[in-house]
Amino acid sequence: MSVTRVLIANRGEIAVRVIRACQSLGIETVAAVSEADRESLAAKLANRAVCVGPPRSTDSYLKTNTLIAAAQGTGCDALHPGYGFLSERAELAQACADNKITFVGPSAENITMMGDKLEARKIARAAGVPLVPGSDHAKNPHEATRMAETVGYPLLIKAAAGGGGRGIKLVWDKNEIETTFRTAAAEARAAFGNDTLYMERYVGNARHIEVQILGDQHGKLIHLGERDCSLQRRHQKIIEEAPAYAVPQEVRAKICNAAATLARSIGYRNAGTIEFIYDNDTADFYFLEMNTRIQVEHPVTEMITGVDLVAQQLRIARGEPLPFKQSDLKLHGHAIECRINAESPQHDFRPCPGRIDEWQPPQGAGIRLDTHCYPGYFVPPYYDSLLAKLIVHGADRKEAADRTRQALASFHVAGIDTGIPFLQTVIDDPEYRSGSVNTRWLEKKLEAYGAAHGG
């Protein structure tokens, strides 16, 4: 289990983040880049870059065999998958194992178990973790209609192969279920090559709460507290915070313990996140899914725990035991992360690739920026639009939000549009400040913003 030279099988800010963590541990790095990323910051920071294919990710970042060959050809003994791309494909973890390359992540077996969302529900049930009332596999519209009577309306039809907000359809009543079921099946077949569907009751006034866990190879597994990721647009997180300020302390403890119990029950190792739905009205919480990788929003946990999660991933992968126990975990203050995307808030948030002429990020107490951007960087049109994550820490939520407000105001970008103007209106919103939000709140703000800005 040696980790002396790591192939970074990803791009963008997470590639930079992983390279920096490697450097902090004296580990060499090789950045796997597509043709479009030859001039990327990751390519510049790594000990070397290796071009793995054309710009389209299906021809480069999504090619398991090419990445394995790149690792072997450049003498890497480990591979970090980042998030997205192949990070949750058991195939890559297995190919690493077969070729004696240390995969910085969980076992292929664990990825497979949690990748099937129906299977994940069974594991959670067996571990005694609360589940959203729902159904097993619904094989056809008639069966779905029958099962829906038990689940109750409104409900969600979900693809077992989905996850991360993809493959979800909302059904308000029984008049809609047959049609929606057929559409969901067709979409799941097209998107995932698997049309297995199941249903869950829809919690209207909900928060998205998730728990960070770390498990080593010696049977020790701990949680690092939770995050509130309720502010979402089309199921994609925009602002994330830690800790989950609006959930009572005793419920937070229960959620974190449930997450650790679940991960322990499958012998999970490395970093992972267990997602829950929290019902604002009843204070009940339910298991949603598990993500078997580092998450985009991991820095908010780092800011309040003082733990470098990516460095821990590398240490765990090379066989080191976790250096702390559960009772050592202390949370300090509050952290807020804003995702800065290349998009145009004035034009219905359409993606906005192109050259960044000016890039002046904010600085100051409690401010951290995870990014791969620099002045003159050309944002390629082939990948997702995340430019940077602004992570701000404060002694409490108010201080963190005030600092975020100031940081966004002094963040100057020219050449492309970013979501910063919209994020500013969110941070200043009285409802946001009071914390009275749920998973649908941001969508309403978006509609209002679009109407006010001629979107």
């Binding site: 000990n47 090419t66 003498g75 050259r355």
Partner: protein, 160 residues
């Protein structure tokens, strides 16, 4: 609006990856005309060749590497008048169909677009490399058994 060299390179790249065979752009006094393959049907604007310049600078090798040092291949400049045959995929490059067999091509050989010039192995799968250009091979750049990146120069060809 002014176009930098950088912008022009990006435009060329986008066209190179597109379905278009012919492209003309006029910005103020500047006119760019690009065509893939056949001669340009319109007025004789100078043709800009989309040279796939391998721009990666070699990185300094880290000290005390336990495995072979992760040195990037030296991206030698393409001599004027020459066209590179580049690796279509990353992998291990072979000049012959099997060990001991004569190479697919030697310096001085004539090649056409469809001539097979080598093999690249990725995870035990062998992919043939086509010349993609008609001309005379003037230099073998990549060595037999060498690990090559996507886009790395394998041969130089003087087009005919």
């Amino acid at each position: 609006m002014e176009l930098s060299e950088d912008d022009v390179l990006h435009i060329l790249k986008l066209i190179d990856e597109s379905q278009f065979d012919y492209f003309q752009l006029e910005v103020g006094d500047l006119k760019i005309t690009v065509s893939k393959g056949e001669p340009i049907p319109l007025t004789a604007a100078p043709q800009v060749a989309a040279a796939p310049a391998a721009a990666t600078a070699p990185k300094p090798a880290p000290a005390a590497a336990p495995a072979p040092k992760p040195e990037a291949p030296q991206a030698a400049a393409i001599p004027p008048g020459m066209v590179p045959i580049t690796a279509p995929i990353l992998g291990t490059f072979y000049v012959a169909p099997e060990p001991g067999a004569p190479p697919f091509v030697k310096v001085g050989d004539m090649v056409t677009e469809d001539t097979t010039v080598g093999l690249i192995e990725v995870m035990k799968v062998f992919n043939s490399v086509r010349s993609g250009v008609k001309g005379v091979v003037t230099e073998g750049v990549a060595q037999n058994g060498q690990f090559v990146e996507h886009g790395q120069t394998l041969f130089l060809v003087k087009p005919t």
